[in-house]
């Protein structure tokens, strides 16, 4: 009789386990496994995304660096250019000023020379008047005087 009692108990226990114990536990486990595998997949995806982003960042950084180098080179060139231009202009200015100074000096010299010549002529005429001690007809001898002046 014990045998039958235990047999019935066994069947009842197995049925109870099958109905009320196994399914919720197994479902919970499987759902969690699903969740974990989803999580792992998401993590992997995120890592891949991160790698892509890092590669993109590196690319952009490289580009930016190249651009910056270009800009710096341009700026340097422009600065050199402007310095060169300033130098050139300064030189030009200097030459202009020197030329103007020389021209002025020349003009002054010419003027002085003219005046000197006039005074020398006058002195020569006065000297000549004194030497020949006679009045020279200004009208008759002006041509000689003119000639003299021109020769000086």
């Amino acid at each position: 009789m014990t045998l039958f009692g235990e047999l019935i108990a066994f069947i009842v226990f197995v049925l109870f386990c099958m109905k009320f114990v196994w399914p919720p536990l197994n479902n919970a486990i499987e759902a969690r496994q699903q969740k974990i595998s989803d999580g792992l997949a998401a993590g992997e995806r995120a890592e891949k995304d991160l790698q892509l982003a890092q590669a993109k960042i590196a690319d952009e950084l490289k580009e930016a660096k190249a651009q910056a180098a270009e800009i710096i080179a341009q700026a340097k060139k422009r600065a050199e250019d402007s310095v060169e231009e300033g130098k050139k202009r300064g030189e030009q200015e200097r030459e202009n000023i020197i030329a103007a100074g020389q021209a002025e000096v020349q003009a002054e010299r010419n003027r002085l020379r003219e005046e000197l010549r006039k005074q020398v002529a006058m002195l020569a005429i006065a000297g000549a008047e004194k030497i020949i001690e006679r009045e020279i007809d200004k009208n008759a001898h002006s041509d000689i005087v003119e000639k003299l002046v021109a020769e000086l």
Binding site: M1, V14, W22, N26
Partner: protein
């Protein structure tokens, strides 16, 4: 010396006797009055302990199942899920094909048998002595007439009931998967077969004999293996318990070894159940 041996013998005898209940002409009778009842005896200690343990198992697991969450599990749920996953893994590896029954069956067998075996680790005199005290105090019985065997799996009725349950399932699976005719064919046309019709007919009785023995041997081996292991273990616990103070280290060693045995026996019973049912539901040998 003779008297001492007698008491030792009766002590062991006492430990290995179930509490019995039966119907006699005079009505319901207990224990010694039932010695004539034979098979028709109820072993009330076996029944009470096994069903009690089964209910404890189902309550704990039901409790965990009701609260089972997909999110972070609690400690109880973790523990229960470890067992469930262990059983589910074994079933997946061994049983090919779909069945809603196999996994819960395996779980029930594993945990239930384990719990019943676990009773073996309770020191052998505790509960019987307690039961004897109750019997003597409240029912006016001689405490030596109160029997209490607390390990249900040391009762051949218990293990046989489990094995018969599995055996019925095996036959059921055979018939469900192969049909009645297919089942009969498998019993009669293997392992010896011939293309000659006459020889084939001659071979049928041999095949039937072999296959029937193979079939029936399975539940027998299941029942006797579990019973034998646990009975022997219990007997040694009782013997150790009878040798006085020296029992302490011995008992410890045997108990540690027995932890292995009870888990292993529960596992073996579960595994073999799965294997037998897998064989029953697969097409060919």
């Amino acid at each position: 010396m003779a008297a001492e041996e007698l008491t030792l013998q009766s002590h062991i005898q006492h430990h290995l006797t179930n509490a019995k209940m039966c119907n006699t002409e005079a009505g319901i009778a207990f224990n010694k009055a039932c010695s004539e009842a034979g098979f028709w005896t109820w072993h009330i200690d076996t029944l009470a302990w096994s069903i009690g343990l089964g209910i404890i198992f189902l309550m704990i697991f039901r409790n965990a199942a009701k609260k089972a969450t997909v999110g972070v599990p609690g400690k109880l749920q973790c523990f229960i899920e470890m067992i469930v996953e262990f059983v589910a893994g074994n079933v997946r590896d061994t049983f090919h094909g779909k069945s809603k029954l196999i996994a819960p069956l395996a779980l029930t067998i594993f945990v239930w048998v384990f719990l019943m075996n676990l009773m073996d680790l309770i020191p052998v005199d505790f509960l019987p002595a307690f039961a004897g005290w109750i019997g003597a105090t409240f029912f006016g019985m001689n405490s030596h007439d109160v029997y209490m065997k607390i390990v249900p799996t040391t009762d051949i009725n218990m293990t046989a009931a489990l094995a018969i349950g599995v055996f019925l399932l095996m036959i059921g699976y055979n018939i469900r998967m192969k049909g009645v005719l297919g089942f009969i064919k498998e019993l009669t046309l293997h392992p010896f077969s011939s293309s000659n019709l006459f020889v084939q007919i001659l071979l049928i009785p041999f095949n039937l004999l072999l296959e029937l023995i193979a079939l029936v041997a399975k539940p027998f081996s299941l029942a006797l293996r579990l019973f034998g292991n646990l009975y022997a273990g219990e007997l040694i616990f009782i013997l150790i318990g009878a040798i006085g103070l020296m029992q302490l280290p011995l008992h410890f060693v045997w108990a540690v070894f027995h932890i292995l045995v009870i888990v292993l026996q529960a596992f073996v019973f579960m595994m073999l159940t799965i294997v037998y049912l897998s064989m029953a539901s697969s097409e060919s040998h």
